[in-house]
Amino acid sequence: MSEAKAAATAAEKLQKGGQSAENAPKRKGLDRKKRKAIFICVMLAFPLVQLFVFWFLVNVNTVVMSFQEFDWLSGKYIFNGFKNFIRVFEEIGGGSAVTRRTVINSVLYFPVTCFISLPLSILFSYFLYKKVPGAAAFRVIFFLPSIIPVAVLTMTFSFSFDATLGFVNPILRALGVENIPSWFGRYPNNQIMIFAYCIWAGLGTNIVLISGAISRIPVEIMEYSKLEGVGKARELFQIAIPLVWPTITTTFILGCTSVFTVMMQPLMLTPSTTDTYTIALMIYNGVLNGRNLPYLSAFGLAMSVIGVPIILLIKWALGKVYADVEY
């Protein structure tokens, strides 16, 4: 860690690193402050209005609904206090095997995306930057899964593992593997396969983002480190990673939100089982069936209210790992 900081400081020295707007000498005094305020207001006006109208106003409905239930006699939604939320926690606590498993599956996407997929993408991005032979071609190919329709990717993926049509099992048998498991036929195998699929197909987007960030590192810093005789591992961990830390943090945060957003992969790979439900998929299916919207609203809201502070805490903690370096 201290070495990493030293490297980061070296980078900072090279770049005469940054000061934030606040630290800048306030040459124009009050005037500057006022103009800054105007700037902030003008710039944020449209994004905030857009957010207010198309997110807040739209979701007010969801929030209000989460405290309601449908009254079948009057045909209206009526206030029912925290009843929906209480039911959410009762179900997770064991009242419903499906809900409980849904939450567990969803939470598992966090380690899978953040501790398997993300480190792999960093490693891949770094070596793409290091000009592995054919790097340009690899970069295009690695991005393929982001543009090939999910339907085709999932179709080839599951066909490949089909016990009689696929080619994976024959290869394994030829290699002497016995007792080949049912890949998609039982839990938790099917859940593990979905995770494997997510890693396989999901690296591309991360690689585009992270290798974009790495290749923006000034050439001088990398060369400087080379002159110092820094090895690959140290170069990666002590220079490259600290320098692109904000991008990594952001990708990590996005990985955290996948707990709430993953839906297409289980829907396509295991279409008719509740074993591999995720929070988003459960809500999607529930909305599609139109059953008990208030409960689903409360479910989504409760998950987010618990999840978002945790994500922010993680973001805060990650921000402490390396000092921000501007270059």
């Binding site: 700037f39 449209f46 997110w55 393929l144 904000p246 990708t251």
Partner: protein
Amino acid sequence: MNDTASPRANGQGTCAADKTACAEGLKKPRFKVTKDWALWVVFAVFFVYAVTLVFPFVWMLFNSVKGNQEYFTNIWAFPQSFHVENYTNVLFDYDVHGVTLFGMFGISILVTLFGTALSLLMSSIAAYVIAKYKFFGRNALYALAVFVMAVPVAGTLPAQYSIMQTLHLTNSIVGVLILYAGGFGFNFLILYGFFKNLSWEYAEAALIDGCSDFGIFFKIMLPMARPALIAVGVIHAIGLWNDYLTPSIYLPNTPTLAVGVNLLLSELRGRSAYPEMFATMIIALIPILVVFICFQKTIMENTVAGGLKG
């Protein structure tokens, strides 16, 4: 853009063009051997991974020219016959609300280009201001952005639709573009990370020169953010290009490619016409692939030349 970028890249000397060789020239030869060895191992890993990724694409391509029976008989076999009509049928014989695939391409390009531009502008504004200026509520806005990403919404469509109706934005491309122009979300988070470590020193100098905050953003920061904007923009554009939900609801009479193709695909799947289905997918895929390959070069050149010191 490319014309100006390339000489600068070269201008950074052989080191920039081939850093490895350059640095190695200064080091002990032993280092070079181990290094190449490591790179080749990585190459092998990349190669295997790449093969698994190319495979679905090639599989789809092969099956898109098979006849239906041939496909059902063996999905892995090399095509025995070439049914070009799978492609011509899809291109010329099908339409949705009188719009052929060509027309859908046009609508999609329009929506994607303007939608991406607007969204990039809005999210870079929001990300830049929140990353670089300290003001009351800035952390709350960041938290809000994460919240927006994380809340799995349940059935908000009717509410959204009624707001769009009140604003007279249904059945209009402008309405869809305004929906797309959100400043908070995936793009915001990525650009926030980017602006966070973008140097303030140029802004500093410009401020001293009497440049306004607007000038700094539009003339200095936004151009410097070009590599990030391109990376995010490509991903975003692909997202918009493939978006089904929004245009299907708000542009019912002017189907985008995603909407039209989805309708076609479901019809083809209903008839188990998988080869034609794959042909449709390939047709929808090719423009994205072409654009991506073009932009991939731009990304590379931009990023090599884009270093602040360059």
